[in-house]
Every structure is written in C-alpha cells, then in structure tokens.
C-alpha cells in the first residue's frame, strides 16, 4: 500500500501536479463557497470562457498566460456590460451571446492548423505540465485571494444573508460584489492552466456544492469544501498515474463522486431532520 502511494511521488511531474492541485483545491474550496452561496456559478463559468481568446492569443505570441487572461477577462467584462446596456434581450441572453462569441473565437484560434502543438491544453488543462513557477504564482495569487476573503468574510456573509440591509450595516454592497467577482476571476486565472478552460468551473463549484449538502454553517462548509477538493484532486492525480487517464478530467470525475456521496448524505440528513419534527414556534 505504501509503495502504491509512494511510487508516483518519485516522479517530479506527479509531485508538482499534486502540489498544484493542493494549492488550487484550498483556494477553490474556500471561494467556491461564496460562488455557490451568491449563486455565481454561471458567472464563474462565463468568466472562464470569456477570457479564453486572451489566453490563446497570449500563448500564440509567447506572452505570459496570466497577462493574456487578465486582458481577456477585462475585455469580456466590458463587452458584457455593453451588451446588457445596448441589447433589447434580457441580461442572461446578452451575456450568453457575448461569452459564446468570445469562446468560439478562442477555439477557432486554438484549433486552427497553424497553431503550435499544445495550445489545446488551454481547453482541457495540463496539471502534469505544472512548473515550479506555475505553482509559486498559484500559491501567491491564492494567498492573496484567501487573505481578501478572510478580511471580508463577515461582510460577505451579511450581504449574502440580507442584501437590502447591507448599506444600513455600513457595507458598500456593489463594491463588495465587484471584489468577489475579481477574486473569482483571479482564481480562474491561476486554475485554468491546470484544469483547462472547459473544466475549471467544476473545481470552483463542485466542492462547495458538495459541502452545502452536508452542513448548514459557513465555516464547516468551507472546511468540507477544501477537504473535498483535496480528496478529489489527489485521488484524481493518482488515478491518472495508474490508469493513464487525463489528469484534469480524472480530478473532475473525483469531484463528481464526492458530490454524489455528499448529496446522498444530505438527502438522508434532511429526511432525519424532518423525522425528528419541526422546531417549536
């Protein structure tokens, strides 16, 4: 058993992939709770797809992926604002049109015959290709995201619970929402190289959605979400090593298993509560 665990650790590639997924798991588990509680899952996926052309262009011209992603997400945000103001359609429809247009343009560039090999990794990710520099950047950005989340924890909780009373509690609701979206964008930027543009939303939403099934308090929810992300991440890398499957996709399959287990436990727990009777008035 120990040999089974230790053998992949003799390979630098696997060790770096494990380190990367641990860093991403901790950050994604924590911010994912706010994404789920603020119902931002669609926004998170849209941010990821909207920045795709920026990532591809950066890869094509040899610029840093982070820079390309940042510019990509800013352009996507500007276009979304413009479309929702100009279009007669509902905001959801306008966002869907802008995001799919951007994503389609990115895919067109990424999959063209003249694109250098490996650029498709931006779609599906390459955890096993994580370099030490990638891990350091992810850890730095992740620490910043966690630090800001820690500072604003109680205020996020207050406006999520009762948005209308935010101003009365001295909270700038609009600013805090923007900060949260900025943190989501930063997390996507560092996670997208490992997990790919198509799969990155899963690690942001999956662990928190699983945790939500089994707890009704924010702090345990965050702890459970991080644990789920780590269990799914590490088991995904091991599965990828032994079964020779794609690392990112294996992590996602692990997340789905965790979610199904949590959902089953959540249904059982809710049934137990109903059986125990309702609270007296």
């Amino acid at each position: 058993m120990i040999e089974w665990i230790a053998e992949p650790l003799t390979h630098g590639t696997t060790v770096r992939a494990l380190t990367e997924i641990v860093v991403l798991g901790v950050v994604s588990g924590a911010i994912g709770c706010w994404i789920v509680l603020f119902e931002l899952s669609y926004s998170a996926e849209s941010l990821a797809h909207g920045m795709f052309p920026g990532l591809v262009i950066a890869a094509l011209i040899g610029a840093p992926i982070l820079l390309g992603g940042t510019i990509g997400v800013l352009i996507a945000a500007a276009l979304v604002v413009l479309a929702t103001r100009l279009a007669d359609e509902s905001a959801d429809t306008a966002i869907a049109v802008v995001i799919t247009t951007l994503f389609g343009s990115g895919v067109l560039l990424a999959l063209s015959p003249s694109s250098p090999p490996g650029i498709q990794e931006l779609l599906f990710g390459n955890l096993l290709g994580a370099s030490n520099a990638d891990i350091l950047i992810a850890a730095g950005v992740g620490a910043a995201v966690l630090g800001v989340l820690w500072i604003f924890h109680d205020r996020l909780l207050a406006i999520g619970f009762d948005r209308d009373s935010g101003a009365a509690l001295g909270i700038s609701v609009g600013t805090l929402n923007l900060i949260l979206l900025g943190l989501v964008a930063m997390t996507i930027l560092v996670a997208v190289q490992g997990l790919g543009n198509l799969l990155v939303a899963a690690i942001l939403v999956g662990p928190a959605a699983a945790a939500r099934q089994v707890t009704r308090r924010i702090k345990p929810m965050m702890v459970i979400a991080v644990v789920v992300a780590l269990v799914a991440g590490v088991s995904g890398i091991y599965a990828s090593y032994y079964l020779r499957t794609a690392a990112g996709a294996s992590v996602i399959i692990g997340l789905i298993f965790c979610y199904l287990i949590a959902a089953t436990a959540g249904v059982a727990e809710a049934a137990g509560r109903r059986g125990a009777g309702k609270m007296k008035p």
Binding site: L37, I151, H153, D154, R155, L157, A158, G160, F161, D162, D164, S165, A167, A168, L169, G170, I171, R212, T215, R216, R217, I218, M221, M279, K280, P281
Partner: protein
C-alpha cells in the same frame, strides 16, 4: 383638510426627558432630486414607540432611509441624536443561508466597525447579550432559517441591538406572525422603549398603532402626527389611505382599517427603494 393637518406634538413628559433622538422640520426626501415625501415635521424622544402608518408607496421606506442616512433630505432640516438601525421583514433575508441566530446578531457589529475590522470575541459576546435581551439565548446556535417568523424577527432586532442602535426602525414586523408571536413582539418593543430605545414601527395595522405612544401618518406628505387617540380619526385615515378605508360594523368613526390591513408579499415594496 384642516382637520387632518399636522397635529402638534404632545407636550406630555416622555421617559427620555428633554433629549430628542429625531427632530424633523419641513423635511422632504426623494430620489434623483424628485421628492416622494414632503412636509415631514415630527419629534421622537427616547422611550417612545412611534407607529408609522401609510399605504404602500406612501413614503415609509423613504423616511426610514433618510433616518438611516442612506439618502439626504431634499429640503428642511433633520437633527438626529441617536444611532439608528433597521429591522427588515424577516422573509426578505435568505432563509437558506448557512447562518446561526448568533451569526445574524453578530452582523450588527459591522455597523460600528471600520471596513477592515472583523467582529471579535467581544462583539460575539455583545451579540449573545442582545439575543438574551430578545429572549433567544437558548436558540443562539439554531439555524436562522429553522426559526419561526417571530423568532426570526426578534433575531433581527438583536442584530440592531448589537449595532448599539438607540433608534430602531421596524418595517412591518407583524407581517406573517401568529397572535402569540405578535403579543410577544409587542412586549419586546415596550421593554426596549422602557430601556430607553425609541422604536418606529411601520405598519398597516391601525388598531395596533392605537397602542403606541405616537403615530405618524404618511401619504406622500405628512397627514398627521401626534397622540393616536386624537390623531387617528376617520378623516386622517381617509387622507392617509386615499379614502379606501373599510369601516368595521358597529364601531363608526374609530373602527376603520386600511385596505392593506393584511399585507401580501407582492405589495410589500414601496414605490422607490
């Protein structure tokens, strides 16, 4: 309209002595420079319970927002000598949110803290004391969404107390409460007034408002302010509710109620929020 003009404030002594939490004179307020509430003249002293009556869109929420400092008066003067906090209807909050009673009460501390400071141990102790004041010390760790309507309303009052508010603005707190919970909330409001808080209660319930110390009737402008026994006459209620009041058989003159006596969720918002 003379008979329904502004009644002079009562000169009877109030528990707070000469101190006044609120002095409004010729106050107008609105949005984007357009007044939706005009001619507001009233005082509020420590220990007073003020019933705020008016139809939906009559300006109750706008007045609350002025008192909370969220919007500035367009005209007139407003002197505030108390920290204020709002107590919204409990079903406007997310009942599925993963927070305990104590978590919600602790949120009140945010109103006193600079943006970078998080509530600490002392703030949680203060929140626990506030929960004890509203009689919920045994439910501090219960999930907010599991509480009854009355318990949720009292939790939100505890949140305002944690904010150290002396002026509590309650937005239709009786909506959806059964008679036992409503009676308990009544006692709590009176207890808080006895402890020196001033409580403004926005309500559609004219009969209940008769039991408060003062009433302020609004319908885009101030219709009446004063003692409920004199202020809540038929003409005032007709002007407040646009003549659409319902007379209770057997009690002409006094036994009247507005058409929104029982509130519906779709009607709750004001014209401007």
């Amino acid at each position: 309209m003379e008979a329904v003009g502004v009644n002079p404030p009562s000169i009877e002594p109030a528990p707070g002595g000469s101190r006044r939490f609120v002095v409004a004179r010729g106050l107008s307020a609105g949005y984007d420079g357009r007044a939706v509430l005009t001619g507001i003249d009233f005082d509020l002293r420590p220990g007073e319970r003020l019933g705020l009556l008016g139809p939906n869109g009559g300006g109750k929420t706008t007045l609350f927002r002025v008192l909370l400092g969220q919007i500035r008066p367009l005209e007139g003067t407003l002197e505030l000598d108390a920290s204020s906090a709002t107590v919204p209807q409990s079903d406007r909050s997310r009942l599925d949110f993963p927070v305990s009673c104590l978590d919600v009460a602790t949120m009140g501390a945010l109103a006193r803290l600079p943006w970078w400071r998080r509530p600490g141990r002392k703030d949680r102790e203060k929140a626990a004391e506030a929960l004890a004041r509203v009689g919920l010390q045994d439910l501090a760790n219960a999930t907010f969404g599991d509480l009854s309507g009355g318990q949720r309303q009292r939790t939100l009052i505890a949140r305002a107390l944690t904010a150290e508010a002396e002026l509590l603005l309650l937005d239709e707190p009786y909506t959806g409460l059964d008679s036992t919970s409503a009676a308990r909330l009544d006692r709590l409001i009176s207890d808080l007034a006895d402890q020196g808080c001033a409580v403004m209660i926005a309500t559609h319930d004219v009969e209940q408002a008769r039991s408060w110390d003062r009433v302020l009737c609004l319908n885009g402008t101030q219709i009446a302010f004063g003692n409920p026994a004199t202020a809540l006459n038929r003409k005032v209620l007709e002007a407040t509710y646009g003549g659409q009041i319902i007379e209770i058989p057997g009690d002409p003159g006094h036994g009247v109620m507005p058409p929104h006596h029982h509130d519906h969720p779709a009607d709750r918002g004001e014209g401007h929020r």
